[in-house]
Amino acid sequence: MGELAGDKHVKYILSVEKKKDSFESVVMEHLRLNGAYWGLTTLDLLGKLDTVDSDEVVSWILQCQHESGGFGGNIGHDPHLLYTLSAVQVLALFDKLDVLDINKVTDYIRALQNEDGSFSGDIWGEVDTRFSYCAICCLAILKRLDSINVEKAVRYIVSCKTLDGGFGCTPGAESHAGQIFCCVGALAITGSLHHIDKDLLGWWLCERQVKSGGLNGRPEKLADVCYSWWVLSSLIMIDRVHWIDKEKLIKFILDCQDTENGGISDRPDDAVDIFHTYFGVAGLSLLEYPGLKATDPAYALPVDVVNRIFFGRCST
């Protein structure tokens, strides 16, 4: 089995920022804030966040904020919960939450809660449990969970439960590991994990591990490195992660590295990208791979960052 090519991945992440003229980066321009979160969190897990000029990042993030309090995916793009969460997470990484007008961000998020407890992603009204997670995670980090109706928010998430114990984007929708992470994460943060049938969901999730050792996101689909995050973090939050073979999964993730130029891909020998690089490294961190910082499965941030927020300490 190969080893984690940490230095190569650092180089790769830093290089992505410079390749602004490639077609890929232009196509992804609208979600640059997500990209910043993936890249910077990976750097932090690898212990290399200090290679980045935090002032530059923070000032760019603030330029993505709108009058409403929400953040767009890049300067000039419309605000949305998806990018508001990334903005808050990156500021948390740099311990710069104090630059925020917290009331303003809170007001933006609170206004997106609907009567049934669900959340719209933005003013146009698309509803999805992903947005419930974004809202709850953001407000918890800002210590403003009390500004929304948590009970209703939880009730809505529970209404999205499916036949297999998992969760879909809306009531009636099929289970999907990414969606399950969002729902389990939101329930974890609100202390509501008792709504989950841990054995039923845990079994469905552990059955996502296929012969190659990788995890898929739904039955009879291909394995993909990003599910190392979605499935693993969910299994950890419900304390069922011992039901999969961790060694085989570590090998699968390591096999997806580009050991020459850095970066991690969805499957071995595919093209790498920043999204899968983050999920690969974060997955390895959840698997207690040596040399990586520990990741918090619910907030999707390094444990020391989460502890700093909630206990005002760095780590034990």
Binding site: G76, W124, A140, L163, V303
Partner: protein, 700 residues
């Protein structure tokens, strides 16, 4: 970049990509300037359409088009044709975008938004969906959209059910179709309230899914559906009381006046509970709400009904729980009277105890027992510690076995108005499925087939004996799990956990097998000739603990030398005083959360576990008092935890578990977390501790 091969770019490709990038960049900045200046001209709309055709994920452009629609409709006067044409234009843009990327959230939502405005014809939608669902039958966006359109069109559930049948017919591996089928069928079952017709529906489904299972027994899709169908068949719907402490008819002996300074075992004599207040535990077959002094009535001379507060034993402070406890206060009892007091507890005579889906307790229960008070005869020395060595235990004498109040549940409650809640149809269906799956396994080594058979057999046992006192198929199920551990080593630990639960159920199913694990503890000076009874399940290779409903009476429990990584459910053991969890696989203090509910716990051994060894805590979010889960009892404020006390924040997990316990003896050696600093922290938060890792703290 899902599914794109990793190749070094050729120079000519790089040039082409750069040219494409430049074009797209120009288009994107052109678009943004239109958007920011609120320009909705033909030309501007064209630019956004072109942009979305190349990059459907460019969400701001979808927002812009919605703004443009509102703007144009507002200006159009009232011509319905013109309004319709504006919306039709949007449908075209969406279709083009979906052709580029049919997983685009923004494109699908834009279509939903357009249709919900009600100006567009729906005729085209099902055809469009057919095309997309044929190209990618697992596309969940398309399925969600389909449910939306079907509702708008008022399509019948039966028609949609037929559609899933067609798709499954084409490819039975279509989990998305099976999923949708489960949603539709739930609706049908809800409508067919009368049992017999819903039974017909379910029986037909079994035939349908078995066909798929036979076609490829290794495909997961049908199996998950089959499992769901089983759940619809044998789900015990109404709540039922499955066990209690004390058990009906029990003669409880209580000795009063126990103060904390006493030795944890000093008051044991035969089966005595030494508390000024003793617990009544009610154990149901599922989570229930509404256990309180109006749904449970207590008749006795020494306690008033209203004085008993019932609490759910639920981690995470949920109002519903399988296990409820109420403490009876003995302070009003005459300690010199030897006559037993009768306590009668009645529940289920009034509505109110109900499951999460609103079903009431199915059968009323009356349980009565007697309580007599006996003064303490002798007291052991404070300096005696509880030792778990082999030579401290001896087999139970026959006369003591009478004192083990287990398993008498089945018989006694039948005297109440107990009627079996399972129907012949249910048992027949399960039996039929058992034989079908056996046939299938004769021709295939299907892993999920074996799991299903194991579950069916356990369900069959549970149905024929709701108190799980008969485990006819346990041996066969244990064998199936052992096979699975070899057949599918990646999920070894899952099978091992399931196997442990079955094993425990078997061990505790009859008085005879249980007695093999009951021992007298001789390690202390005891007022009676015999020491207290200890249940010793040590060294059984158990990886998961279960069957707590059978263990409510246990006061000494030895679970050492097993492979436990969790003690989920142990909060039910309200009488527990001495617990040995040494040499297991517990990973963190948060995994000990259930101990916080055990008021009587005095002696704890968690030595030689893995506490402090792991960077990832798998119970960080399931423990009830975690300040991270925003629902804890601990308010993480400066008043409770002075910020200057770094120990408390560093060791918050240990603090959380131990601060509510009054341990007198703790063994914690052999965990990565223990060092001198941690030990001195423990002494601070456990003031009543007398022995730490075998050392008498009062003799230092």
């Amino acid at each position: 970049m899902h599914g794109r091969p990793r190749t070094a770019p050729k120079p000519e490709d790089a040039a082409a990509s750069a040219a494409k990038a430049q074009k797209l960049r120009a288009l994107q900045s052109q678009f943004l300037s239109y958007h920011h200046s609120r320009i909705y001209t033909e030309e501007a709309l064209d630019a956004s359409a072109k942009l979305l055709e190349i990059n459907p994920e460019y969400y701001t452009a979808w927002n812009y088009r919605k703004l443009a629609v509102e703007h144009r409709v507002g200006e159009s006067g009232s011509s319905p044709e013109y309004v319709k044409s504006i919306f039709d234009e949007e449908l075209k843009v969406v279709e083009n975008a979906l052709r580029q990327n049919f997983k685009s959230y923004g494109a699908w939502y834009h279509r939903t938004w357009v249709l919900s405005k009600g100006h567009s014809s729906l005729d085209h939608e099902l055809r469009l969906l057919d095309r997309f669902q044929k190209a990618d039958p697992r596309n969940f966006h398309a399925w969600n959209y389909r449910r939306f359109v079907a509702a708008l069109l008022g399509r019948s559930v039966e028609d949609e059910l037929q559609y899933t049948e067609d798709l499954i017919g084409n490819n039975f591996s279509n989990y998305s179709a099976w999923h949708n089928r489960s949603m539709l069928l739930s609706e049908i079952l809800k409508k067919k309230e009368q049992e017999s017709s819903s039974q017909d529906v379910i029986s037909k489904e079994y035939e349908f899914v078995l066909n798929a299972l036979y076609t490829d027994p290794d495909d997961q899709s049908g199996w998950f559906y089959h499992l769901w169908l089983l759940d619809q068949t044998f789900k015990v719907k109404a709540p039922l009381l499955v066990s209690s402490w004390p058990v009906p008819g029990f003669d409880l002996v209580v000795s009063g006046n126990v103060s904390f300074a006493d030795h944890p075992l000093s008051s044991f004599s035969e089966f005595t509970v030494a508390l000024e207040r003793f617990p009544v535990v009610l154990y149901f077959n599922q989570n229930v709400e509404g256990v309180n002094s109006s749904t449970v009535t207590i008749q006795s001379t020494f306690v008033q009904n209203e004085d008993v507060t019932w609490k759910p034993l639920s981690l995470q402070n949920s109002p519903a729980s399988k296990v409820w406890v109420g403490y009876l206060d003995l302070s009003g009892v005459d300690h010199h009277s030897s006559a037993p007091y009768t306590v009668e507890i009645k529940l289920g005579h009034h509505q109110g105890i109900m499951s999460s889906n609103g079903l009431q307790l199915s059968i009323p229960f009356d349980l009565s027992f007697t309580v007599s008070v006996k003064p303490l005869e002798t007291q052991s020395s404070k300096d005696e510690k509880v030792a778990w060595e082999e030579d401290k235990f001896c087999a139970c004498e026959t006369h003591l076995q009478v004192a083990i109040p287990c398993l008498c549940y089945d018989g006694i409650t039948v005297d109440n108005k107990y009627e079996p809640t399972t129907s012949d149809w249910q048992i027949g269906t399960i039996a039929e499925e058992i034989s079908q799956i056996r046939n299938l396994l004769a021709i295939s080594d299907s892993k999920i087939g074996k799991i299903t058979l194991a579950r069916l057999l356990m369900a069959h046992d549970a149905m024929s004996s709701p108190y799980a006192t008969k485990t006819v198929h346990a041996e066969e199920v244990l064998g199936l799990y052992s096979e699975l551990m070899k057949l599918d080593p990646s999920h070894y630990q899952y099978y091992k956990d399931e196997r442990s639960l079955v094993l425990l159920q078997q061990l505790l199913s009859s008085r005879e097998t249980l007695l093999r694990y009951c021992f007298c503890y001789r390690g202390i000076t005891s007022p009676s000739a015999y020491g207290p009874i200890c249940l010793r399940l040590n060294n059984q290779s158990i990886s998961r603990m279960g069957s707590f409903d059978k263990l409510l009476w246990v006061q000494l429990l030895d679970l050492s030398d097993n492979e436990l990584h969790s003690i989920e459910g142990m909060e039910a053991l309200q009488l527990l005083r001495c617990l040995n969890l040494g040499r297991n696989k517990l990973r963190s203090f948060t995994s000990l959360d259930p101990l916080r509910y055990l008021r009587s716990l005095k002696v704890l051994n968690i030595s030689h576990n893995e506490i402090g060894l792991h960077s990832i805590d798998t119970t960080r979010y399931s423990c009830s008092a975690s300040p991270l889960s925003h629902n804890g009892e601990i308010i993480w404020s400066d008043d409770v935890f002075p910020p200057e006390d770094a120990d408390v924040t560093n060791y918050w997990e240990a603090f959380m578990v131990f601060k509510s316990l009054e341990l007198t003896q703790l063994d914690i050696v052999g965990n990565a977390v223990t060092n001198e600093k941690f030990k001195s922290f423990l002494l601070k938060i456990l003031p009543k501790l007398q022995f730490l890792d075998g050392q008498n703290l009062h003799q230092i």
